[in-house]
Each structure stands twice: as C-alpha cells, then as structure tokens.
Amino acid sequence: MSKLLVSPSPHIHSKDSTRSLMLDVVIALIPAAICSFVFYGWREVLLMAVSVASCVLLEWAVTRFMLKKPSTIGDFSAVITGMLLALNLPYTTPLWVVVTGAVVAIGVAKLTFGGIGQNIWNPALVGRVFLLVSFPTYMTTWGAPAGVVDAVSGPTPLGAIQEGLLSGASVQDLTAAYNYKDLLFANLGGSAGEACALALLAGFVYLCIRKVIKPWITLSIFATVALTALIFWGINPDRFTGPLFNLLTGGLILGACFMATDYVTSPMSLWGGVVFGVGIGFLTMMIRYFGSYPEGVSFAILIMNSVVPLLNMWFHQKKFGRK
C-alpha cells in the first residue's frame, strides 16, 4: 500500500497566490506604462526598465547574500515597486537617480523591515520622496510630452499654480491655461504615471473587477479631495483651485488607485480603509493649499501609512452573532 498524505482540513486551496495577485497589479499598471511610452517615448521605457531591473536585482541580492533566505523576487512585488517608482518620476530623471530611488525603496523601505508584508511605508513612495527631498532639481523639472508642447520642460500644473500664486496671479487666470480634456488624456508636463488619468483608472477598474482590491480606499480619497476642494474653492475661487482640477492633477489618481491601496500599508477593515482614505484626501489638500510643496499625495499617503497599525486596532469587522 502506498503512503497516504495526512493533514488537517481544508484539503484544497483557491488559485490565488501572492504571485497571482501581484501579477494582476502589474497587468493593471500596463495601460499606464504604455501611455507613458506613447507620450514620452523610449526614454521612458529605459527609465522603467532600469527602475524595475534595479528593484528586482537588489531584492534578489539582499535576500540571497545578506538575509540568506529564499529569494522573494518570484512574487512580483519588486516589479510593482519598480514600475510605480518609474511612473512617479519625470521621464528626464538621470538613471543614477533612479537607481538611488530603487535602493531606498527596496533596500531601506522594504527589506530592512523584513521584506514583503512587513514594511510600514509604501516602498515606491519612500523611494520617490527620498529623491524629491534629496534631488529637488531633477525631481521638479518635468518634461512635457514630446511634440505636444513646445517647451522641453516646465513645471507641473500644480507647481505652476503655486508659483503663479506666489507672484500674485489668481487661480482662475492660472487654471485657464489647462483644459480638463488634456488633464484626462495627458498632454501636460508631469511624471509618467500622472500622464494618463484614464489609463490609470482603467487599471483600477481591472483590479476591482478581479477583486484584488476593494474600491473604498480610493473612492474615499477622491470624495474627500473633491469635498475639501469644493469647500475652499467655494469660499475663495481666486486663492484655491477647484475639485475637478485637484482630482486630475499631481498624481492623485496614481496615488489613490495604486499606492494607497497597497495591501501591506493600508488598513485591513472596511471602515479603517475609509478613515485612511479620508485622511489621505484631507492631508493632500492641506499640503497642496498651505504646504511648501505644490504636491501632497506622496506625503499624505506616507503619513497615513504610519497610522495604519492604529486603524487596524480601532476598526474591526463585525463579528457574527455579537454586538
């Protein structure tokens, strides 16, 4: 008689694995990657290739030689970090800066804490913010899409408005330069990932349909940003930008759809997620309106990442048959 396998139930498993979930996120990012290629050309492809390659290679090397553990590159999470990092950078970023960002993202923000699942802050965002505060020149010189605008480089819409406000112009005059069709379809200067709002939203819808993520965090960010902007804009449209403008600029869609929904650094429960989203939306608007940086999504997400353990402690799902 052959030997029988004995183990506790259940004896079957769903097809979902960490790898399959992460692969779905990679797929969801592909439309945005393709758009960034269309708008910014081969240089963007090179940027993304370098970013992904350095993230994956670094994760492999660190797990293999420093942690002496089985490599985790097969789960595709490093690929996502690489893609998100690339999508967060101007396409003109020097490659050595990209590599530096990857080292911070994977080396510092992810593996220092114990690798996938253990990190407190979203690795790609930590990498990005590190670069933003370390190399502000590279990070705020945004290339306009080739062939669309004459200028080779220029500030992002949010950056332009902040500078304009400082020089005394009114928001209405400043935003007149942008139309929402351009914002949706990416004809503006900005990081590659900010380029095409529609491509990002398509990826988000794909993730929701595949049940990889739930939409509540993202929707609560959008709702809070829109509401906060509506209130301030309603009070003083000369000083504050309006809801639609804020929804479509500054990587808000990229952040809300792909960074804030990162499993590891977002709350587990529905209401925890909603509070998390409201916090991100509100902080983003406060930084945009009153902060010294024109853009606040990255900071807002990182700040809210830090309170996730608290949110997990405060918000639990409703238990069956208990009050």
Partner: protein, 470 residues
Amino acid sequence: MSKHTFSIGGVHPHDSKISRECAIEQLPLPPSVYLQLSQHIGAPAKPIVAVGDKVKVGQPIAEPGGFVSAFIHSSVSGTVKSIAPRPDLAGNPQMCIEIAVEGDEWADGIDTSDTLVTDLPEDNKAIIEKIRLAGVVGLGGATFPTHVKLSPPPGSKCEMIIINGCECEPYLTSDFRVLLEKGEQVVVGAAILSKVMGGVPCTIAIEVNKPEAIAHINEVIARLGYAGISVMPMKMRYPQGSEKQLIDAVMHRQVGSGALPISVGAVVQNVGTALAVYDAVQKNKPLIDNVLSVTGECFPRQANIRFRVGTPISYIIDCLGGMPADAVKVISGGPMMGRAISNLDAATLKGTSAILFLTEKQTRRAPEGNCIRCGKCADACPMGLEPFLLIRHARLGNLEALEQNAVQDCIECGCCLYSCPARIPLLDHIRQAKGAVLGAIRARAAAAKAATEAAKPAPVIPSAVEESKK
C-alpha cells in the same frame, strides 16, 4: 438566480460535483462490520451484547451512555466476534463491536418495503422516543443525537425547522441523490420534524447548483399536499450548510456566540437526517445505513452508494475498483472540512458522507510566505473573525487576546486557509488556539462553580469565611 445566502464572509470553491449523475447503488455486504461505540457527539454508547451473540439487522447492540448519546444497532445479521479497540481513520484506537456477517436477516417489526407511509403518528412524545430508539443522529457532519435536538430546553420555542440540503462542500453529492431518489421520504421526514416541533413551518434549503432537486422537491411537496413546507433555493456559497450560517441565510437571525440555534427559534436538520427520521418513525428502521459519495477526479468509478454502517472503507474502495494510482490523499467527507484518512481499514460511521480521492497536485500545500496583509482571510471568515490577527496571537500564545478576538467562535470551516494567497496555515494554528482558549474557559467555569459551591454551605462559620477570603 437566488439571492438567499448568509451575510458575512464565505468562499466560492469550484463545486466539482462530478458524481452527481450516479444513481445510488447498494453496496454488497462486507464479510464483517465494525461498529464504533463513539460515533456521535456525546458519551460513547455502552454495549448490550456479548461476544458470540447472534444479532439481526436493526437489533440494538449498544445503548446510550448518557443523555447526549445514541443507540447503536447492528447493521448486519451475524455473530458478534469481538468488542475491542480498533484503529479509526486517524489510527487512534476506538472501541468497536465486530460482527461477522451471516446472511441478511432483519429484526422483527422493521418495514423493509418501499411503500411510502404518509400518515403521521399522533403522539409527539412517541415520535421522539422512536427517533431515540432508532439511534438517529445528525448526518450533516456533527452527528449530534437528533432526539436531543428535538427536545428544546424549557422556555425556548422553535419557530422554524430548516432542512439542510445545501451540500455546499465541493464533490459531495449524496444529499443531492437522496433528494432526487428519496424526495418523498425526505419531505415526509420534514413533515414529522415540523409536527414534533409544534407544527412550525419547514424550509428545505437547496443550493441553486442542484436545480433538479429543487424542482423535484417542489413537485413532491405539491403532490403530497404539505402546506407548511417550502423549498428555498440558495445562492452557491461555502459554508452555507453550516448551521449558524444557514439560519442567518434563511431566517436572517444570527445565533449568538456560544448559543444554540433554538435561541433564535431555529432547528436545523440535514436531508439525510430527515430521511433517517422517516425511516425510524414510519418504517421502524433504525439508522443502520447511509449514503456516501465515492469521488475525485482521479477516481474512475464515481459512485453514490448506500452502505451499512461499520463497513470498512477499504472494502468500499475495493468494491469500486481499488485505490487510484495517483491519489495521495483519501478524505472522509468533503475537501473543506473532511478528515484525511491514514488508516483505510477504518470502519465507516453513521455520519460518513464521502470518500474523496485527491492527487498531489490538487491537495499539496504550497510553502508558506509572508503575510501580505491583504485581509482576504478576514473577508472570507463567515464568523467575522480576523484570522490574520488570531494567528499572530496564537503564535505568541496570547490566550487572553485570542479570547477577546473571539477565537472560540471559529467554526473551522477552512475559508481562511483556503483563501490565503501567502498559503499561511491559518486554520491549523487557530484550531489549536481555539482548543486552548476553550480549555481555559471551561477551567474558569469549573473554578467559578467550585467557588460558588464552596461559598454555599448554609451554616456560616465566621472563621471559615475568613479562611476562604485568604
């Protein structure tokens, strides 16, 4: 499409009902049967036969060993060979009565004909006594003695009988076949149960992946003219057939933690149990056989068979062509909650519902990865627990936090482990933690009871009180 389902969690494994078209076959009699004395929840039964006794089919051979316990009847005719421990399906010794089969002679008074008897006995007490004497236990998995369930504690009131025909576990098809082939008997059994509980309405819950059964039972109810019995088609979802989840799905009431279904006015009985009740009450036939599915993609001879309780599993497998070569795991029951068998010579029990063969590819557990905090385990938990949190406390041995987070409510359905993308053995750890917490709760209750008893003695001696305060 039906919308009826429970409110929290659940998963959707592929239903894999590959033996659904196989009509119920009668298994030939084995050379010997081994009737385990403990095959129900509660105290083991006490043998009332001796080695060498001649017994007939349906003759009681062991009596209840307590209030929550059940009669056991000989499932064959022949001679009692031994009353001795024998390894069960996990290899643990269990007291068994071994009977060598000689012919097939039934005890007096058992109606073995196929005639449908629809006239219900008048006296409810007599009905419950008949069910008790027939050794009927719940056949949905827990094997709780049915007569105990039908005698609710004073002060509680039954408002609905639910007949569980969900069969939400993948692969299992025995309830489905019983509904199709013994639909009349099941419906009469349901009518008996509803009458015993005071003429309450009865809902037969069947998942929508069994449309033939839904249509057939509807037709039978109409034909037999029972007003209080209805079929409720259920959305496919595991673990719908779990008692608490089914009550939630049918009645929209949640049984509290640690409470019994009767506390919300529900009594749930399985389809197989309804049939056993019919047999016991209308035919005087004790629970001596049951239907199980023998199935699995790697098993060529799919079957639903009626077997005599106590038939060795290896005998059933041999009758159907032997072990498939690529099967690495044999499961008694379904793939979600069934138990892996290590000893194929173990005997079947009253509640055995399936023998399932799985290949290595189907059942192999992938290596455990890091928790990615996706929350899929919490989404899947039908009790609204947070397995990711429970396993963390379990690994730290933090019993207090485990109890606060309701680990004792876990129904061990396996949804958490099933859905974890990092393949963390959540339920393995939670099951152990639950055992430890339940132990602590019981110890606390016992200590509290001892304390009240110690405080009870009427003539209070001041010095003794002083003593006890210390």
